[in-house]
């Protein structure tokens, strides 16, 4: 009897470790900035792409309507793919599309917009990627649907036809 205690204990300990690791895997462990949980857009100052003026983030999405904030960059290949969808969506009158130019060279970004068209009403110029972090973004491309200064839906990764349909449903 005595020499059975050890194997059982060891097995038990390892089962415990297994369960803990297993549970650890279930939670997403990607560091999520605090802001993403309470959806309110935090206040921070941003620089605008063309005019170069500095304004407060809360002044951008202040109107009582839907906004789409698209985080993009000229070096990001998936951004290129989703861009045509944004060009389509901009025809919809119910929504305003804003861009956040993430860690980009201004000249490259301008060429990008010249080639593929500019669906953005305003563009935030985020050369250090700080604004994107404050908004709780994971990377590029990423798109937020915003209403009354609150993020109501996040699209991580490039938009596709389905997500565009979903957005159209939401803003009806």
């Amino acid at each position: 009897m005595k020499n059975k205690i050890l194997p059982v204990t060891v097995t038990f300990i390892f089962i415990m470790i297994f369960v803990t690791f297993y549970k650890g895997l279930q939670d997403s462990n990607i560091y999520t900035p605090e802001t993403s949980s309470n959806n309110e857009i935090p206040a921070f100052s941003v620089r605008l792409f063309y005019s170069n003026e500095i304004i407060n983030s809360s002044e951008i999405f202040d109107l009582d309507q839907f906004y789409l904030l698209n985080i993009w960059s000229s070096w990001c290949v998936p951004c290129r793919q989703e861009h045509s969808l944004l060009m389509d969506l901009v025809k919809n009158k119910n929504i305003k599309i804003f861009g956040l130019n993430y860690k980009d060279k201004k000249s490259n970004a301008k060429i990008f917009l010249k080639e593929l068209g500019n669906p953005y009403e305003k563009i935030i110029f985020d050369i250090e990627g700080v604004n994107a972090i404050e908004l709780g973004a994971y990377g590029v491309p990423e798109t937020f649907l915003i209403f009354k200064n609150k993020i109501i839906k996040k699209y991580i990764g490039p938009l596709n036809q389905d997500s565009i349909e979903q957005i159209k449903q939401l803003i009806k």
Partner: protein, 626 residues
């Protein structure tokens, strides 16, 4: 495109040959007079298939074939050829393929090189190894296929993280993997030996070569990783107790302990349980390293891919192996009751056992520091991170007895002995305490602790050095490794004691004066390179004697992906390193300048090389004797 297809199907055929191998092994195991030639040829075939698959991936990288998802994610046409090739194993999928390559290579070598052991033992080792190999094949094919096809074919890739574009890091993973995977052979063969109840001195001297070879590669791999962190990350340190670093340190501690246990087992039939448990621990720690790094369960500066599905697979696989080994250990291993009773307190083996316990203690400190945050997160959803102070506080005090035992232990004989040359040992101890006190008194830091630490390391150095002259060539490899270790501890201590740092913000043309040094920011140059833009500053460092040094720290702005890295300019001399790094300050013409003088940096690298050198000498020496 073509290469992806060839690579993918070679992987599937490799998996098939693993299953065939197990079938032949079971057949051969029942009547085991001769090793079935099919086993050897299929092992070779399997290795060959994995080599083909690996070459295909390299070719896809070289040709920038962006229809391959792995290439698309990690390469770019403008990247230099060297980094295109090293990009093959710089990512999750490629690195697993490399694991598999080394796994199959090692089992093939094992089958060819093992001559004096029974056929049953060889076959059983092969079976255990094939179980591991099958696990990796399925993992690779199911969750992280390196040959995924992309359509439409993108025109350009996303690029390799510039931080990974460094020569030391390009060869770091393969070397480290040789060490990790080498431990798989130790794992399989110790399980095989346990089941056949043949853990003995003969087995110990047979497996010792494998332990040594993995140990050498693991040590070198850790060294390269550390050199990379020092030169590339630009944080001005060589070890950060980062989870990913710890994960490579843990198997090293287990393997080092195992090496010493094997040495004892070779001479005397004790410590069998130690050997088995450590063999299992070394490999499972390497595997859990892969799990922790690859599943994204850890938050670390160099976290790689985050994919829970992969994590789940490794987790289940890892624990199946653990439960299998627990079962074999408790079911087959018969402990020898004479084991501990025959130990005399003053003998070589007692000192080895004592230090083994210290090593186990260090191992558990690192283990707890690494996985405790995960446990806390799961059980109470608190996020903490464990930093260097934790490790320093818990490890450093115990280095004192550890170093002392390490100095005296080798002087003792096996089984039972008297302490010879007592006077010499005491004299050396006094000398080292005096020397260290003189050294340490110059620095205004914790005098007592530092003196004791430095003198212990110095003591180990002097005693070992004298021994290597005294008994000529008796155990020179051990002496070299131990001298290397004492030098390592010494240089780390002195490095910590006498490093100095200046941090300031400077504009071009400005001068910063500290009490001993003057930093002049001369000019700045911009240049376009192949895949990045370089901003190079010219600094003149003038020290108190009026000696001027020019230094050129650099900022690199990579275009694919868009990342800024700072390349420190490091002037290495024998006695100290001068280290300068610049960073951009937000929206201003100022640069953040960090200048450090770090003595004995070179000695840290050299002493690790010395440790490895001792190991390789032992490896080759044993070969000649046979």
């Amino acid at each position: 495109m073509l290469y992806s297809v060839i690579g993918y199907y070679s992987l599937i055929l490799g998996l098939l040959s693993a299953i065939i191998l197990i079938y032949f092994s079971i057949k051969n195991f029942q009547n085991s007079e001769l090793l079935d030639t099919n086993i050897l040829s299929f092992s070779f075939l399997q290795f060959f298939l994995v080599v083909i698959s690996f070459l295909c991936l390299i070719l896809s990288f070289v040709l920038s074939d962006f229809s391959n998802e792995t290439v698309f994610n990690n390469s770019h046409t403008t990247k230099p050829l060297f980094y295109k090739i090293s990009g093959t194993w710089g990512n999750h999928e490629g690195s697993l393929l490399l694991w598999l390559l080394v796994l199959t290579l090692f089992i093939l070598l094992f089958l060819i090189k093992t001559k004096n052991q029974t056929i049953k033992y060889k076959i059983l080792t092969l079976v255990f190894q094939q179980i591991i190999i099958i696990g990796f094949f399925i993992f690779l094919i199911k969750t992280s296929n390196p040959f995924n096809y992309l359509f439409p074919v993108p025109e350009e890739g996303l690029g390799l993280n510039p931080i990974l574009q460094d020569p030391a890091l390009a060869i770091h993973p393969p070397i480290l993997y040789l060490g990790y995977v080498g431990s798989s052979i130790i794992f399989s063969s110790s399980l095989a030996a346990t089941s056949l109840n043949m853990i003995s001195s003969g087995w110990a001297s047979h497996i010792k070569k494998w332990v040594l070879i993995s140990w050498i590669f693991l040590t070198l791999g850790i060294l390269l990783g550390s050199i990379w962190a020092y030169y590339e990350l630009g944080w001005g340190g060589f070890w950060f107790w980062d989870p990913v670093e710890n994960v490579s340190l843990m198997p090293w501690l287990a393997l080092t302990t195992l090496l010493h246990c094997i040495l004892v087992l070779e001479k005397k039939h004790i410590l069998t349980s130690w050997v088995i448990i450590l063999s299992i621990a070394t490999f499972t720690l390497s595997m859990s390293g892969t799990f922790l790094v690859r599943s994204g369960i850890l938050n670390s500066v160099h976290t790689f891919a985050n994919d829970p599905e992969r994590g789940l697979f490794i987790l289940i696989f890892l624990f199946s192996l653990i439960f299998l080994s627990i079962f074999i250990f408790f079911f087959f291993h018969k402990t020898n009751n004479k084991d501990s009773s025959s130990l005399f307190w003053l003998s070589k083996e007692t000192s080895i056992i004592a230090n083994n316990w210290f090593m186990m203690y260090f191992l558990s400190v690192v283990l707890i520091g690494t996985i405790y945050p995960i446990f806390l997160d799961v059980l109470s959803s608190q996020k903490i991170s464990v930093g260097p102070p934790f490790y320093h506080k818990l490890i450093i005090p115990f280095l004192i007895p550890f170093l002392l035992i390490m100095a005296i232990g080798p002087k003792l004989g096996w089984i039972k002995s008297k302490l010879l040359e007592k006077n010499h040992l005491i004299l050396f101890l006094i000398i080292s305490i005096l020397i260290s006190a003189i050294i340490v008194i110059n620095f205004n830091s914790n005098f007592l602790l530092n003196t004791i630490l430095v003198s212990c390391a110095l003591y180990l150095f002097i005693v070992t050095l004298r021994e290597s002259f005294n008994k000529k060539y008796k155990n020179i490899s051990q002496n070299i490794s131990h001298i290397g270790f004492s030098l390592l501890i010494l240089s780390i201590l002195l490095n910590n004691l006498s490093s100095s740092e200046i941090i300031t913000n400077l504009k071009v043309g400005e001068t910063f004066e500290a009490n001993k040094t003057k930093i002049i920011f001369k000019s700045i140059n911009q240049k376009e390179e192949k895949n990045y833009k370089s901003i190079k500053g010219t600094f003149i460092i003038e020290n108190i004697d009026g000696i001027k040094n020019k230094m050129y720290p650099e900022l690199r702005i990579y275009n694919q992906p868009n990342i800024v890295t700072s390349e420190a300019d490091i002037k290495t001399t024998l006695m100290s390193d001068k280290f300068i790094v610049i960073n951009l300050v937000k929206n201003q013409e100022y640069f953040n300048v960090r200048y450090q003088v770090k003595p004995f940096m070179l000695w840290i690298w050299l002493s690790v090389v010395l440790i490895c050198f001792g190991g390789s000498m032992s490896f080759f020496k044993k070969k000649y004797e046979k």
